[in-house]
Symmetry: C2
Subunit: 683 residues, 2 copies
């Protein structure tokens, strides 16, 4: 993990230059100055404008070269054609980070992309980092860096960002929109940074450095693309991170050449990768802000067990539905807890989880407090969701105080659900806000935020206990099935004996050699789905051998004569590429591949525990266990095969696809029956 925080000026600059500064109303270059002054940036501001003079009463400099002191952060806000010179001036002046806000680069055309690359090349010569171009800048931090032209800060209603949550967004407009929505909702976002075209600095890199800042408790992100997450994953092990990844549908629409490609859709890989790394994936901006509130309140949760206290049966049922949907656990209360609760809860309420104290809380002070206290002491309860729908005024105030005290006493994550107008109890809302107890309008949103916290607390071990299996050499492009299988066999994968036959005269002998019952396969370069094309004939004995050979030979290649392995559960094992690294796919294989479409994916590397989990997530779990009274299959052998393969391909080039379909799993042992390889070049 790097601890080099060269992007820190984005939220902690003490000197800011604005290239293209002006007082002219309506000009982009006026706004950061206006915001910095209004919100009291406590460092040095250098307006830069060729005309010099004064801007907002400050000395304006004709060029970066004439600025008399070191500049941490430069905002480049000049027309596209002037950006290159501005970047050079900044780099020459020793600026640490330049935010290029100007548009007109890679988002327009190829020439723009080339111009954008030039900016990076110039900056790199002096070690300057570039954010953008085509971004809206950054805001926040202790020094009140308002390095943006976002209109959000021209409104008197927008407060200065304040809090220990950092927001990073590839989209400028959506990022600042989410920020303003969050500030209005009381989400404690203290820093917001947008990365635009990402010529140099990526959102992931910003997130990594933010998470290393002791003043940042958690990071929430909006991204449209994700690169390698290794460094972020390491940070995620210490601080909660949540990501809204857009483009699910576009991802799904991509064509896929192989079964593995079809099953490991890019969006499925994103979900799997984020979960592997303990990063919460959220589905929309509401949820991103909800999760930010939860992360601001809590970083640690002991497990997935949720205790619910409600004043309305309906909210309780909805909370239980949400817990099931999100994969959390409705805490199974100890009998002693239930007995104690029965003494507190009215007879027409419910003393088991979800605990329904009913509207009796309005008449009986202390009822809610005693219930929630007792519930929180149950060892199965890792978090509390407290739902109160129609309560008003002092009833809400009392519950708010109780939740505040509960959280301080127990350290448990507490989420309040108020399905009712905020105006019904403004003081209670204030108590909860001061206490840092997150408040949601529905049980579903509270439970989703808790689920994100549970994910962020999933510490997937990324250190592996590997039986140091040998590396599998990278197949040559266009490798035949025979060549591929020889490669795999050498690495210890179980491959049935086979003989490549090109003349009818050799067939009988070959069938005999592999044991008298053979599979005959057409070996035709480029034919991926041999079965569909009629290129595979099973269980061929010497009687049928010559005739079958002749038919297959007519397809245009040679014929592979392979020992026939009868029966077994058919499994697909695949390797493919993604922007985040190589992906392993394990699922139901053979003729059922598309029909069942049950597969699990993971980023490599994986260990046996991961592989066991992958199998459990698919219909293979049931198939291997022996459906409908049949004998169980050798799951352990399958896990070993997958492990050997997953580690063996660790140095294969990015983007290659290997499709092993099927592996057949018998009562004892398993066998690779078919394999196909697509090299990155031909993909």
């Amino acid at each position: 993990m790097t601890s080099h925080l060269d992007l820190r000026p984005l939220w902690a600059a003490t000197s800011i230059a604005v290239i293209g500064a002006t007082e002219r109303v309506g000009a982009m270059g006026r706004l950061p100055l206006e915001y910095l002054i209004k919100h009291g940036f406590d460092g040095f501001i250098a307006p830069v404008n060729p005309k010099g003079g004064e801007i907002f009463g400050m000395e304006a400099f004709a060029s970066m070269a004439s600025v008399p002191q070191h500049i941490d952060l430069a905002l480049i806000m000049v027309p596209a054609q002037l950006v290159k010179d501005a970047v050079r001036d900044c780099a020459d002046a020793g600026v640490n980070v330049a935010i290029v806000m100007s548009s007109g680069f890679a988002e327009v055309d190829k020439e723009g992309a080339a111009a954008q690359q030039e900016l990076v090349d110039i900056a790199r010569t002096k070690g300057m980092r570039i954010v953008g171009p085509n971004c809206i800048g950054s805001v926040g931090g202790a020094h009140k860096v308002l390095a943006t032209f976002s209109p959000v800060f021209s409104s008197e209603s927008t407060p200065l960002p304040d809090g220990r949550i950092a927001l990073v967004s590839q989209s400028g407009a959506l990022g600042f929109g989410a920020l303003s929505l969050g500030l209005e909702r009381g989400v404690p976002i203290g820093i917001a940074i947008t990365t635009g075209n990402e010529a140099d600095v990526t959102a992931t890199e910003v997130a990594v450095q933010l998470a290393q800042d002791p003043d940042v408790d958690a990071v929430v992100m909006y991204v449209e693309s994700l690169g390698n997450l290794d460094s972020l994953a390491q940070v995620a092990a210490t601080k909660p991170i949540a990501i809204l990844k857009a483009g699910r549908s576009a991802a799904g629409a991509e064509a896929a050449a192989s079964h593995t490609g079809a099953l490991a859709s890019p969006d499925k890989v994103v979900s799997a990768a984020l979960k592997q790394y303990g990063i919460a994936r959220v589905d929309n901006i509401d949820e991103l802000l909800d999760v930010a509130s939860m992360f601001a309140s809590e970083r640690i949760i002991g497990g997935p067990g949720v205790g619910i206290v409600t004043t309305s049966g309906g909210s309780g049922i909805l909370a239980v539905d949400a817990i099931e949907k999100e994969g959390l656990v409705l805490a199974n209360l100890d009998q002693s807890t239930v007995s104690d609760l029965e003494q507190i809860v009215p007879s027409y309420g419910n003393a088991t989880n979800p605990v329904d104290v009913t509207a009796a809380v309005m008449a009986e002070p202390g009822l809610f407090e005693r219930c929630v206290d007792r519930l929180a002491d149950d060892p199965a309860v890792n978090a509390i969701v407290a739902c109160f729908a129609v309560l008003v005024g002092k009833d809400v105030d009392r519950i708010a105080t109780a939740l505040h005290e509960l959280r301080d006493r127990t350290g448990l994550p507490v989420a309040a659900v108020r399905t009712g107008a905020a105006a019904l109890a403004p003081e209670g809302a204030e108590v909860l806000k001061r206490a840092g107890v997150p408040v949601y309008p529905t049980p579903e949103r509270a439970v989703a935020a808790l689920r994100a916290l549970v994910t962020a607390n999933t510490r997937v071990s990324r250190s592996f206990n590997v039986l140091s299996p040998s590396e599998i050499p990278t197949p040559s492009p266009g490798a035949s099935e025979k060549e591929l299988k020889e490669l795999l066999a050498k690495s210890g994968l179980p491959i049935p004996e086979s003989i490549l036959v090109s003349e009818a005269a050799q067939v009988l002998n070959a069938v005999d050699t592999v044991g008298g019952r053979a599979v005959l396969k057409a070996v035709v370069p480029g034919l991926l789905h041999k079965s569909d094309a009629g290129g595979v004939v099973l269980d061929v004995t010497t009687e049928r051998a010559v005739k079958t050979f002749t038919t297959l030979k007519a397809m245009g290649g040679d014929v592979l004569v392979e020992r026939f392995v009868p029966g077994g559960i058919e499994v697909l094992v695949g390797i493919s590429g993604s922007s985040m690294g190589p992906v392993l796919t394990v699922g139901v294989g053979g003729v059922l591949t598309e029909i069942v479409a049950s597969a699990s994916v993971r980023l490599l590397p994986v260990d046996r525990v991961d592989i066991e989990q992958m199998i459990s997530e698919t219909a293979l779990d049931q198939l291997l266990a022996g459906a409908r009274g049949s004998q169980p299959s050798d799951r352990k052998a399958l896990v070993t095969l997958i492990e050997t393969l997953a580690h063996g391909v660790r140095n294969w080039p990015t983007g290659c696809e290997l499709d092993i379909n099927p592996v057949t799993v018998l009562e004892r042992g398993c066998w690779v029956l078919d394999a196909a390889y697509v090299s990155p070049q031909t993909d």
Copy 2:
């Protein structure tokens, strides 16, 4: 459809009695009087209290008998033990509807349930309807009926409900909580009614009568249980209805005896039934309110095609993701539309759907308006989603006005998405509110609300073109497979010939009679999953017949010798019961039943179009079409079989289960290979 509106006093009473009226602060019986007076109920109020005198300056009556005029609506707010007398007094006085707000009935214990039934019995003698007990009452309507003790209306911040949307809730607390949240968000809910224990009046019945009121445009509901929806379905054909049905998880936890029961989980049946009836199902209170806003704006949508205009690329991508998720269609724009848009949209924007006008709208007045106008004229566009994230002040105002005008000009549903603080542009918000254009914080919520509108516009034909197939007699409880198949065969279902054999000596002859290749099945009463238990042996010829017979006979019953039907795609067809009526299940059958777990459900009746749709929703679609190069199977024969069955069982008693698994579908024809029946009594 009934047009009898006997529940109308709940929202349109002109005379209200409060039994248990008092001025005492803190007493339940004070609140409705306080609310009725404060909000200006324009009818007659009769406080009823044995002490008589004056309450809030109005004459209080010692009993209902002494109230001098007819009472439409009575609120019974006395302790549980006094409710019975109060109900009798109201019934005797000719009250139309009594709301029993008191708790202490079926929600407590069996005695309470019995007492509750007594109330209904008393009311029925005089034709009075009872709402509750254990409910929070109703509010709204032109006369300002505030027939509730909900604390929501004790807050000065709560406005009088106003609008053409009606809300019905089985939960009182959640219902009034949702109402107050909705009113705060500007959702035009004009009527809210809670039904509590539903001793007499159900939420569904209330919804039916509300929907018949010309002042109500749409109904949204929260329910925990759903009964027969036939009458609601008829209303849904004229006005939009949305339902939040709680208890997904509880439903899923129920044990299921048969495959059909397992595949047709109660929650899946609810989803299917609501969709069949054109009723939108929503997942949480946020969505219920979002959909209410949409229904308040629009009742008609021409199709699922959505056009997106956005000022932020990010919001556009999220909207596209949401359209795919919700099953709507990203409108495929005509080339002429794209050409025209290319003339308007900046080069760094996007002139195809989603149309990205970029932040250039801030600098160029009219840009947004021209884009959205041109987009709306494309014939593929049935609705517009307009996203604007960081815009403030006059930019939002301008867009708001444009959307308002667009909606008036085109009549298209328009949803605005403002992912940003409301305070950034309060006037724009006001313009949209006045125009009745619904505003959502995220694209996902706007698209989900549009999806509900599309569902509400799905006019599923509930009139059927049936080949008047014969009715299948109800099987006797414990009917054997043989008896069951004879019953089905008589109704024209394709059943292979079979002979029941109880002596080894008859077996050879039987196998010969059915064609020389037979299936032998153990016929053991109560054995549902014969295959799992080893009770089915396929393809038995005369050689193996006696030995196989002996083995099966040892399982304790007789043996059925049936003609062997080789090959084919195996299908499950099942009939089961639900609170909403009988359910048809069609899915992948045979050994793959649980592994693939791909099934579709519908409430009966269905026609061929429904059955075709059901097949298309499952993996059968692909299997029947001929996966991996195999021949297609006789889908038409399967549809006919299912149609014959679905109509044949129309008079079977509620709750019986029929499990036909598998039907095997061949290249020509299909055959019922196994059938099991569970009568309601033994279930």
